[in-house]
Protein backbone atom coordinates (compact mmCIF):
# COMPACT_ATOMS: atom_id res chain seq x y z
CA UNK A 1 0.00 0.00 0.00
CA UNK A 2 1.77 3.05 -1.29
CA UNK A 3 1.07 6.65 -0.47
CA UNK A 4 2.66 9.82 -1.78
CA UNK A 5 3.85 12.22 0.90
CA UNK A 6 5.42 15.69 0.80
CA UNK A 7 7.70 17.08 3.44
CA UNK A 8 10.66 19.36 4.00
CA UNK A 9 13.91 17.55 4.72
CA UNK A 10 16.87 19.65 5.87
CA UNK A 11 15.42 22.64 4.03
CA UNK A 12 14.57 20.83 0.77
CA UNK A 13 11.02 20.17 -0.43
CA UNK A 14 10.61 16.45 -1.04
CA UNK A 15 7.84 14.32 -2.52
CA UNK A 16 8.23 10.60 -2.06
CA UNK A 17 6.14 7.53 -2.65
CA UNK A 18 6.32 5.45 0.49
CA UNK A 19 4.74 2.29 1.82
CA UNK A 20 2.34 2.87 4.71
CA UNK A 21 4.20 0.55 7.08
CA UNK A 22 7.65 2.12 6.64
CA UNK A 23 9.17 3.77 9.66
CA UNK A 24 10.87 7.13 9.24
CA UNK A 25 14.28 5.58 9.99
CA UNK A 26 13.70 3.03 7.20
CA UNK A 27 12.75 5.77 4.75
CA UNK A 28 15.79 7.87 5.64
CA UNK A 29 18.38 5.12 5.74
CA UNK A 30 17.27 2.38 3.37
CA UNK A 31 15.35 4.37 0.78
CA UNK A 32 17.00 7.79 0.75
CA UNK A 33 20.48 6.65 1.71
CA UNK A 34 20.77 9.12 4.59
CA UNK A 35 22.68 6.80 6.87
CA UNK A 36 23.81 9.52 9.30
CA UNK A 37 20.76 8.64 11.37
CA UNK A 38 21.59 5.40 13.17
CA UNK A 39 19.23 2.65 14.21
CA UNK A 40 20.28 0.92 17.42
CA UNK A 41 17.55 -0.95 19.25
CA UNK A 42 14.66 -0.24 16.86
CA UNK A 43 12.30 -0.07 19.84
CA UNK A 44 12.61 3.49 21.13
CA UNK A 45 14.97 2.61 23.97
CA UNK A 46 18.33 3.95 22.80
CA UNK A 47 17.74 7.26 20.99
CA UNK A 48 20.37 6.65 18.29
CA UNK A 49 17.74 7.25 15.59
CA UNK A 50 16.65 10.65 16.95
CA UNK A 51 15.65 13.20 14.33
CA UNK A 52 13.66 16.42 14.64
CA UNK A 53 10.08 16.59 13.32
CA UNK A 54 8.36 19.96 13.54
CA UNK A 55 10.92 21.09 16.15
CA UNK A 56 10.43 18.03 18.39
CA UNK A 57 13.02 15.29 18.93
CA UNK A 58 11.48 11.92 18.03
CA UNK A 59 12.69 8.35 17.67
CA UNK A 60 12.55 7.79 13.90
CA UNK A 61 12.34 4.01 14.49
CA UNK A 62 8.97 4.47 16.24
CA UNK A 63 7.61 7.09 13.88
CA UNK A 64 5.82 6.08 10.71
CA UNK A 65 7.14 7.73 7.56
CA UNK A 66 3.57 8.50 6.52
CA UNK A 67 3.23 10.76 9.56
CA UNK A 68 5.86 13.23 8.26
CA UNK A 69 3.46 14.28 5.48
CA UNK A 70 3.38 18.12 5.46
CA UNK A 71 5.96 18.26 8.24
CA UNK A 72 9.50 19.63 8.60
CA UNK A 73 12.19 17.02 9.24
CA UNK A 74 15.77 17.71 10.33
CA UNK A 75 18.48 15.06 10.34
CA UNK A 76 22.18 15.12 11.15
CA UNK A 77 22.96 15.58 7.42
CA UNK A 78 21.37 19.02 7.51
CA UNK A 79 23.58 20.49 10.22
CA UNK A 80 26.92 21.29 8.59
CA UNK A 81 27.08 24.12 6.04
CA UNK A 82 27.50 23.22 2.36
CA UNK A 83 31.16 24.31 2.56
CA UNK A 84 31.74 21.70 5.25
CA UNK A 85 31.78 24.04 8.25
CA UNK A 86 30.42 22.11 11.18
CA UNK A 87 27.38 23.23 13.17
CA UNK A 88 28.39 24.60 16.61
CA UNK A 89 27.06 21.44 18.25
CA UNK A 90 29.07 19.17 15.95
CA UNK A 91 32.23 21.25 16.47
CA UNK A 92 31.69 21.24 20.20
CA UNK A 93 31.24 17.45 20.36
CA UNK A 94 34.54 17.09 18.44
CA UNK A 95 36.39 19.59 20.61
CA UNK A 96 35.13 18.34 23.96
CA UNK A 97 35.44 14.57 23.58
CA UNK A 98 31.69 14.10 23.24
CA UNK A 99 32.35 11.48 20.57
CA UNK A 100 34.12 8.17 20.93
CA UNK A 101 32.75 5.39 18.72
CA UNK A 102 30.30 7.87 17.23
CA UNK A 103 27.26 5.62 16.95
CA UNK A 104 25.13 7.61 19.41
CA UNK A 105 26.45 11.00 18.25
CA UNK A 106 23.88 11.84 15.54
CA UNK A 107 21.07 11.11 17.98
CA UNK A 108 22.79 12.98 20.82
CA UNK A 109 23.38 15.98 18.60
CA UNK A 110 19.82 16.06 17.23
CA UNK A 111 18.36 15.81 20.77
CA UNK A 112 20.71 18.61 21.84
CA UNK A 113 19.72 20.72 18.83
CA UNK A 114 16.01 20.36 19.58
CA UNK A 115 16.72 21.39 23.17
CA UNK A 116 18.91 24.43 22.37
CA UNK A 117 16.57 25.59 19.58
CA UNK A 118 13.78 25.72 22.16
CA UNK A 119 15.83 26.73 25.18
CA UNK A 120 19.23 28.27 24.26
CA UNK A 121 20.08 28.75 27.96
CA UNK A 122 19.40 25.17 29.05
CA UNK A 123 21.27 24.34 32.25
CA UNK A 124 22.93 21.02 33.15
CA UNK A 125 19.74 19.53 34.63
CA UNK A 126 17.70 20.50 31.56
CA UNK A 127 20.36 19.02 29.28
CA UNK A 128 20.31 15.77 31.27
CA UNK A 129 16.50 15.63 31.14
CA UNK A 130 16.49 16.17 27.37
CA UNK A 131 19.23 13.61 26.71
CA UNK A 132 17.92 10.93 29.09
CA UNK A 133 16.61 8.95 26.12
CA UNK A 134 19.97 8.85 24.33
CA UNK A 135 22.22 6.04 25.44
CA UNK A 136 26.01 6.21 25.05
CA UNK A 137 28.20 3.26 25.98
CA UNK A 138 31.57 5.01 25.60
CA UNK A 139 31.85 8.44 27.10
CA UNK A 140 30.15 8.19 30.47
CA UNK A 141 28.02 11.18 29.42
CA UNK A 142 30.06 13.86 31.19
CA UNK A 143 31.87 14.94 28.03
CA UNK A 144 28.56 14.93 26.18
CA UNK A 145 26.96 17.30 28.71
CA UNK A 146 30.09 19.47 28.54
CA UNK A 147 29.91 19.47 24.74
CA UNK A 148 26.32 20.74 24.81
CA UNK A 149 27.22 23.40 27.36
CA UNK A 150 30.19 24.53 25.27
CA UNK A 151 27.99 24.61 22.15
CA UNK A 152 25.76 27.16 23.86
CA UNK A 153 28.76 29.51 24.05
CA UNK A 154 29.78 28.80 20.43
CA UNK A 155 26.24 29.51 19.25
CA UNK A 156 26.29 32.85 21.07
CA UNK A 157 29.66 33.74 19.48
CA UNK A 158 28.30 32.74 16.07
CA UNK A 159 25.36 35.02 16.49
CA UNK A 160 27.63 37.86 17.54
CA UNK A 161 29.78 37.31 14.46
CA UNK A 162 26.92 37.33 12.05
CA UNK A 163 25.20 40.29 13.60
CA UNK A 164 28.48 42.21 13.68
Amino acid sequence: MATKISFILNGDKISYEIKDHWTLSYLLREEMGLIGTKEGCGNGECGACTVIVDKLAVNSCLYLAIDIDDKIVETIEGLASTDGTLHPLQQSFVDNGGIQCGFCSPGMIMSSKALLDENPDADREEIKHALAGNICRCTGYIQIFESVEAAKELAVEDKGGKNG
Binding site: H21, T23, N43, G44, G47, L62, L64, A132
Partner: protein, 293 residues
Amino acid sequence: MKEFKYLSPESVEDAISLYGQHSETSKFVAGGTDVIVKLKEGWMEPDFLISLKKIKELSDLHKNEATKELSIGALVTHATLEKSLMIQNRYPIIYDAVSNIGSLQVRNVGTIGGNLINAVPSADGAVPMIALDGVALLHGPDGERSVEVKDLFIKPYVTVLKPGEILKKITIPPQEANTGSAYIKFGRRAAMELPLIGIGVLLTLDTDQKTCTKARIVLGVAAPTPMRAFEAEKSLVGQKINEEILVKAGQIAADESKVRDSVRGKAWHRKEMIKVHVRRMGLKCLDIIKKQS
Protein backbone atom coordinates in the same frame (compact mmCIF):
# COMPACT_ATOMS: atom_id res chain seq x y z
CA MET B 1 6.74 -5.52 9.88
CA LYS B 2 3.69 -6.76 8.01
CA GLU B 3 2.24 -4.34 5.46
CA PHE B 4 -0.90 -2.47 6.39
CA LYS B 5 -3.06 0.33 5.04
CA TYR B 6 -2.85 3.51 7.11
CA LEU B 7 -6.09 5.43 7.48
CA SER B 8 -6.28 8.99 8.86
CA PRO B 9 -9.90 9.92 9.59
CA GLU B 10 -10.56 13.51 10.66
CA SER B 11 -13.51 12.86 12.96
CA VAL B 12 -14.32 10.38 15.70
CA GLU B 13 -17.43 9.28 13.79
CA ASP B 14 -15.36 8.51 10.67
CA ALA B 15 -12.81 6.59 12.75
CA ILE B 16 -15.53 4.42 14.30
CA SER B 17 -17.17 3.84 10.93
CA LEU B 18 -13.85 2.83 9.34
CA TYR B 19 -13.30 0.42 12.19
CA GLY B 20 -16.78 -1.01 11.61
CA GLN B 21 -15.93 -1.78 7.99
CA HIS B 22 -12.88 -3.88 8.91
CA SER B 23 -13.42 -4.65 12.56
CA GLU B 24 -11.55 -7.96 12.60
CA THR B 25 -8.43 -6.58 10.97
CA SER B 26 -8.23 -2.99 12.25
CA LYS B 27 -6.34 -1.38 15.09
CA PHE B 28 -6.54 2.18 16.34
CA VAL B 29 -3.28 4.01 16.94
CA ALA B 30 -2.59 7.26 18.80
CA GLY B 31 1.07 8.31 19.20
CA GLY B 32 2.29 4.87 18.21
CA THR B 33 5.18 4.52 20.67
CA ASP B 34 3.68 1.27 22.00
CA VAL B 35 1.75 0.15 18.91
CA ILE B 36 4.73 0.38 16.53
CA VAL B 37 6.81 -1.80 18.87
CA LYS B 38 3.97 -4.36 18.85
CA LEU B 39 3.76 -4.21 15.04
CA LYS B 40 7.52 -4.70 14.71
CA GLU B 41 7.50 -7.64 17.09
CA GLY B 42 4.53 -9.19 15.28
CA TRP B 43 2.35 -9.10 18.41
CA MET B 44 -0.19 -7.15 16.39
CA GLU B 45 -0.79 -7.72 12.67
CA PRO B 46 -3.61 -5.49 11.44
CA ASP B 47 -4.47 -4.95 7.76
CA PHE B 48 -5.70 -1.47 8.62
CA LEU B 49 -4.10 0.91 11.09
CA ILE B 50 -6.52 3.69 11.93
CA SER B 51 -4.64 6.75 13.16
CA LEU B 52 -6.43 9.16 15.49
CA LYS B 53 -3.80 11.89 15.03
CA LYS B 54 -5.79 13.98 12.53
CA ILE B 55 -8.86 14.23 14.78
CA LYS B 56 -8.33 17.74 16.12
CA GLU B 57 -10.72 17.62 19.08
CA LEU B 58 -8.72 14.75 20.58
CA SER B 59 -5.66 16.98 21.04
CA ASP B 60 -7.53 19.64 23.00
CA LEU B 61 -6.23 20.52 26.48
CA HIS B 62 -8.10 23.21 28.36
CA LYS B 63 -9.63 24.22 31.63
CA ASN B 64 -13.22 25.43 31.54
CA GLU B 65 -13.04 28.68 33.48
CA ALA B 66 -16.74 28.54 34.38
CA THR B 67 -16.94 24.94 35.64
CA LYS B 68 -13.22 24.71 36.60
CA GLU B 69 -13.18 21.31 34.93
CA LEU B 70 -9.96 20.24 33.24
CA SER B 71 -10.37 18.48 29.91
CA ILE B 72 -7.47 16.41 28.56
CA GLY B 73 -7.94 15.06 25.03
CA ALA B 74 -6.76 11.48 24.60
CA LEU B 75 -4.20 12.52 21.97
CA VAL B 76 -2.54 15.15 24.18
CA THR B 77 1.12 14.15 24.37
CA HIS B 78 3.02 13.65 27.60
CA ALA B 79 5.36 16.49 26.55
CA THR B 80 2.43 18.88 26.06
CA LEU B 81 1.25 18.13 29.60
CA GLU B 82 4.80 18.38 30.95
CA LYS B 83 5.34 21.82 29.40
CA SER B 84 1.94 23.25 30.38
CA LEU B 85 2.30 25.85 33.15
CA MET B 86 -1.30 25.16 34.18
CA ILE B 87 -0.45 21.48 34.70
CA GLN B 88 2.81 22.33 36.49
CA ASN B 89 1.12 24.79 38.85
CA ARG B 90 -2.34 23.36 39.41
CA TYR B 91 -1.95 19.61 38.82
CA PRO B 92 1.54 18.74 40.08
CA ILE B 93 0.67 15.04 40.30
CA ILE B 94 0.16 14.96 36.51
CA TYR B 95 3.45 16.78 35.94
CA ASP B 96 5.31 14.40 38.28
CA ALA B 97 3.96 11.38 36.41
CA VAL B 98 4.25 12.43 32.77
CA SER B 99 7.63 14.18 32.99
CA ASN B 100 9.39 10.88 33.61
CA ILE B 101 7.60 8.61 31.14
CA GLY B 102 10.07 6.98 28.74
CA SER B 103 12.30 9.62 27.20
CA LEU B 104 11.67 13.07 25.74
CA GLN B 105 11.51 11.46 22.28
CA VAL B 106 8.75 9.16 23.55
CA ARG B 107 6.94 11.95 25.42
CA ASN B 108 6.96 14.16 22.32
CA VAL B 109 4.92 11.52 20.48
CA GLY B 110 3.28 9.27 23.08
CA THR B 111 -0.16 10.30 24.33
CA ILE B 112 -1.98 10.16 27.65
CA GLY B 113 -4.84 8.25 26.01
CA GLY B 114 -2.48 5.70 24.54
CA ASN B 115 -0.79 5.29 27.92
CA LEU B 116 -4.15 4.54 29.56
CA ILE B 117 -5.50 2.22 26.85
CA ASN B 118 -2.26 0.26 26.64
CA ALA B 119 -3.19 -0.67 30.23
CA VAL B 120 0.10 -1.90 31.59
CA PRO B 121 0.16 -2.28 35.40
CA SER B 122 2.97 0.29 35.49
CA ALA B 123 1.22 3.02 33.46
CA ASP B 124 2.51 6.23 35.02
CA GLY B 125 -0.29 8.21 33.39
CA ALA B 126 -3.08 6.26 35.07
CA VAL B 127 -2.14 7.03 38.68
CA PRO B 128 -2.70 10.83 38.55
CA MET B 129 -5.90 10.45 36.53
CA ILE B 130 -7.30 8.12 39.21
CA ALA B 131 -6.07 10.29 42.09
CA LEU B 132 -7.77 13.32 40.52
CA ASP B 133 -11.08 11.38 40.15
CA GLY B 134 -10.75 11.58 36.36
CA VAL B 135 -13.59 10.42 34.15
CA ALA B 136 -12.92 8.88 30.76
CA LEU B 137 -15.29 9.72 27.93
CA LEU B 138 -15.60 6.81 25.50
CA HIS B 139 -17.21 6.93 22.07
CA GLY B 140 -18.14 3.83 20.12
CA PRO B 141 -20.63 2.44 17.61
CA ASP B 142 -23.37 2.69 20.28
CA GLY B 143 -22.60 6.31 21.19
CA GLU B 144 -20.88 7.90 24.16
CA ARG B 145 -20.44 6.70 27.71
CA SER B 146 -18.41 7.76 30.71
CA VAL B 147 -16.29 5.56 32.94
CA GLU B 148 -14.28 6.62 35.96
CA VAL B 149 -10.61 6.11 35.16
CA LYS B 150 -10.30 3.92 38.28
CA ASP B 151 -12.77 1.50 36.64
CA LEU B 152 -11.16 1.57 33.19
CA PHE B 153 -8.82 -1.36 33.73
CA ILE B 154 -9.79 -5.04 33.89
CA LYS B 155 -6.39 -6.74 33.87
CA PRO B 156 -2.98 -6.13 32.28
CA TYR B 157 -3.44 -4.94 28.67
CA VAL B 158 -7.25 -5.13 28.94
CA THR B 159 -9.63 -2.22 29.51
CA VAL B 160 -13.42 -1.93 29.52
CA LEU B 161 -13.31 -0.51 25.98
CA LYS B 162 -15.46 -2.51 23.57
CA PRO B 163 -14.31 -3.21 20.01
CA GLY B 164 -14.55 -0.01 17.98
CA GLU B 165 -14.67 2.24 21.04
CA ILE B 166 -12.32 5.21 21.31
CA LEU B 167 -11.19 7.10 24.40
CA LYS B 168 -11.96 10.74 23.57
CA LYS B 169 -10.85 12.60 26.66
CA ILE B 170 -10.37 12.56 30.39
CA THR B 171 -12.26 15.09 32.46
CA ILE B 172 -10.87 16.16 35.82
CA PRO B 173 -13.48 17.64 38.17
CA PRO B 174 -12.72 20.98 39.85
CA GLN B 175 -10.10 20.78 42.57
CA GLU B 176 -11.06 21.99 46.01
CA ALA B 177 -9.05 24.67 47.79
CA ASN B 178 -6.20 23.44 49.99
CA THR B 179 -5.43 20.46 47.77
CA GLY B 180 -1.95 19.13 47.18
CA SER B 181 -0.92 16.19 45.02
CA ALA B 182 2.30 14.38 44.16
CA TYR B 183 3.56 11.26 42.39
CA ILE B 184 6.80 9.36 42.43
CA LYS B 185 7.92 6.76 39.97
CA PHE B 186 10.33 4.69 42.00
CA GLY B 187 12.77 2.64 39.96
CA ARG B 188 16.42 1.78 39.75
CA ARG B 189 17.21 4.72 37.50
CA ALA B 190 15.47 7.90 36.44
CA ALA B 191 15.17 7.54 32.67
CA MET B 192 13.94 4.91 30.23
CA GLU B 193 12.59 2.89 33.10
CA LEU B 194 9.34 1.34 34.14
CA PRO B 195 8.66 1.92 37.82
CA LEU B 196 9.34 -0.71 40.45
CA ILE B 197 6.40 0.93 42.12
CA GLY B 198 4.44 4.13 41.43
CA ILE B 199 2.88 6.07 44.29
CA GLY B 200 0.45 8.97 43.94
CA VAL B 201 -1.04 10.88 46.87
CA LEU B 202 -3.65 13.65 46.87
CA LEU B 203 -4.75 15.42 50.05
CA THR B 204 -7.40 18.06 50.60
CA LEU B 205 -7.37 19.87 53.94
CA ASP B 206 -10.10 21.81 55.68
CA THR B 207 -9.84 25.60 56.03
CA ASP B 208 -7.77 25.03 59.19
CA GLN B 209 -5.14 23.54 56.83
CA LYS B 210 -4.75 20.60 59.17
CA THR B 211 -7.77 18.30 59.00
CA CYS B 212 -7.97 16.02 56.00
CA THR B 213 -11.30 16.13 54.15
CA LYS B 214 -10.28 14.04 51.16
CA ALA B 215 -7.45 11.60 50.52
CA ARG B 216 -6.43 9.59 47.49
CA ILE B 217 -3.64 7.05 47.59
CA VAL B 218 -3.10 5.40 44.22
CA LEU B 219 -0.54 2.71 43.46
CA GLY B 220 0.94 1.53 40.18
CA VAL B 221 2.55 -1.92 39.80
CA ALA B 222 1.01 -2.88 43.15
CA ALA B 223 -1.65 -5.07 41.55
CA PRO B 224 -2.57 -6.30 38.04
CA THR B 225 -4.13 -2.88 37.43
CA PRO B 226 -3.49 0.55 38.99
CA MET B 227 -5.28 0.53 42.35
CA ARG B 228 -6.61 2.85 45.02
CA ALA B 229 -5.61 2.01 48.60
CA PHE B 230 -9.08 2.68 50.02
CA GLU B 231 -8.31 1.64 53.61
CA ALA B 232 -5.24 3.83 53.73
CA GLU B 233 -7.29 6.74 52.37
CA LYS B 234 -9.96 6.19 55.05
CA SER B 235 -7.30 6.25 57.76
CA LEU B 236 -6.47 9.84 56.81
CA VAL B 237 -9.90 11.42 56.34
CA GLY B 238 -11.02 13.39 59.41
CA GLN B 239 -7.53 13.29 60.92
CA LYS B 240 -5.13 16.14 61.52
CA ILE B 241 -2.38 15.22 59.10
CA ASN B 242 1.15 14.84 60.39
CA GLU B 243 4.09 12.63 59.63
CA GLU B 244 3.07 9.95 62.14
CA ILE B 245 -0.39 9.55 60.56
CA LEU B 246 1.16 9.36 57.10
CA VAL B 247 3.53 6.61 58.26
CA LYS B 248 0.51 4.60 59.46
CA ALA B 249 -1.31 5.22 56.16
CA GLY B 250 1.78 4.00 54.30
CA GLN B 251 1.73 0.77 56.30
CA ILE B 252 -1.98 0.26 55.59
CA ALA B 253 -1.42 0.93 51.86
CA ALA B 254 1.45 -1.55 51.78
CA ASP B 255 -0.76 -4.18 53.47
CA GLU B 256 -3.61 -3.48 51.03
CA SER B 257 -1.40 -3.73 47.96
CA LYS B 258 -1.18 -6.94 45.99
CA VAL B 259 2.49 -6.56 45.14
CA ARG B 260 4.40 -9.58 43.96
CA ASP B 261 7.88 -10.62 42.93
CA SER B 262 8.77 -9.88 39.33
CA VAL B 263 11.84 -9.49 37.17
CA ARG B 264 11.96 -5.84 38.15
CA GLY B 265 11.83 -6.27 41.91
CA LYS B 266 10.71 -8.17 44.97
CA ALA B 267 7.37 -7.87 46.75
CA TRP B 268 8.94 -7.03 50.13
CA HIS B 269 10.95 -4.22 48.55
CA ARG B 270 7.86 -2.83 46.85
CA LYS B 271 5.98 -2.85 50.20
CA GLU B 272 8.81 -1.03 51.93
CA MET B 273 8.85 1.57 49.17
CA ILE B 274 5.07 2.08 49.42
CA LYS B 275 5.51 2.80 53.13
CA VAL B 276 8.32 5.26 52.54
CA HIS B 277 6.77 7.06 49.59
CA VAL B 278 3.19 7.39 50.86
CA ARG B 279 4.75 9.35 53.72
CA ARG B 280 7.04 11.38 51.46
CA MET B 281 4.33 12.18 48.91
CA GLY B 282 1.93 13.05 51.72
CA LEU B 283 4.46 15.50 53.15
CA LYS B 284 4.98 16.92 49.67
CA CYS B 285 1.21 17.50 49.42
CA LEU B 286 1.26 19.41 52.73
CA ASP B 287 4.15 21.48 51.44
CA ILE B 288 2.29 22.33 48.23
CA ILE B 289 -0.82 23.34 50.18
CA LYS B 290 1.27 25.57 52.45
CA LYS B 291 2.92 27.26 49.45
CA GLN B 292 -0.45 27.92 47.81
CA SER B 293 -1.77 29.92 50.73
